[in-house]
Symmetry: C2
Subunit: 211 residues, 2 copies
């Protein structure tokens, strides 16, 4: 059985939890609090030298980091990933877009404005750029989603999961989604998918710190 | 036949040119000068709303952006991408790492310090962070490459192509690779692969501006 090292309020971790839930894959969930430095301990760094969650243990000595790589690994040969080469490439296209255009801006805003107490004051200089670049990314998504229901294809895929994670909390960190009606409608379509779970949902959580 | 829209001195574009050369895939190459705004014309934005190169035309009305998504599309069922699910996930892991940890720092330094005249003065405030974060990414690579010859596996793959692109020009934009001997040795191994081509190589180049 897989073990997932995850943080409940991390959008990157949520991607993997959502895919595991929708694919019905049994797993053990270990809660890791990055705000308490739990990804910087020697034990954690031995599993993932980058010091990030999520991290999926796929074999006794084999750990897979990077949320979108984990999504791809889990979704192969499932309804969440197409068999068609061009559709698969479009899926990856949006997942790479997420990592360089959306997550560095919406994810950073989420981390510093919502998770870290006093973060807004600490990061005031960076916030303006996150907002500008984040709005640019949302604009690209909105234009695309005004023409099709889901990002990579006409059906829901791991590309939608990857971009939903930080977009669905954007309004909690200053972004006004009223400017992007196609994005808002897409958020509703994603949340209406079978076996959707919320970011803070998990029935059986173990705390790494309590081990 | 594929058409690749590419810029000769863009590391992201180079990844795709290198893969096409090593896979022996015939293609037409269109040179696009981003410094002259050629990715911001209505004609180019109609092909790629994100306004970036590289862009691969895979069918008359089908354009694929994102360098690493293009690499994956081209490399499926070739020696540049494993069939093993865990090795494939490790390949993607490093390609996502490249897009959020390496390219935003080494790629930005390359663009502003080497391609843009006067860029160093314009970006002085950002350079310190690019250097710090870029060195952190190189450190993660160096540790990993001190234990294995190639990034995702024991053999050369598109993960190596993806991270080679900006790492092999890092010393042209202030990074000192003497600090990372395993990275330097890996650069030599990559450059020694069959049918390797240099960043500025192409025998048959057409200029978009001359169309």
């Amino acid at each position: 059985m897989y073990t997932l090292y995850s943080m409940r309020r991390s959008g990157n971790s949520y991607k993997v939890r959502l895919a595991l839930a929708q694919l019905g894959i049994a797993h053990e969930l270990m809660e890791v609090d990055i705000l308490r430095g739990e990804t910087r301990t020697p034990e954690f760094l031995a599993m993932n030298p980058s010091g990030h969650v999520p991290l999926l243990q796929v074999a006794p000595e084999k750990f897979l980091p990077e949320s979108n790589a984990i999504l791809w690994y889990l979704a192969e040969n499932t309804p969440l990933l197409s068999d068609d080469p061009v559709e698969r490439a479009a899926t990856l296209q949006w997942m790479f877009f997420e990592q360089h255009a959306l997550e560095p801006n919406l994810g950073a805003a989420w981390f510093w404005l919502v998770l870290v107490k006093g973060g807004r004051e600490l990061q005031q200089h960076a916030l303006e750029e996150w907002m500008e670049e984040g709005y640019r990314a949302l604009g690209v998504m909105d234009k695309h989603l005004s023409r099709q229901d889901f990002l990579a294809d006409d059906r829901y895929s791991i590309a939608d999961i990857a971009l939903y994670a930080y977009t669905h909390v954007a309004e909690q960190c200053d972004f006004d989604l009223a400017l992007f009606p196609a994005v808002r409608d897409w958020l509703d379509r994603v949340a209406a998918q079978p076996n959707h779970v919320a970011m803070d949902w998990h029935p059986d959580l173990k705390m790494v710190a309590a081990q």
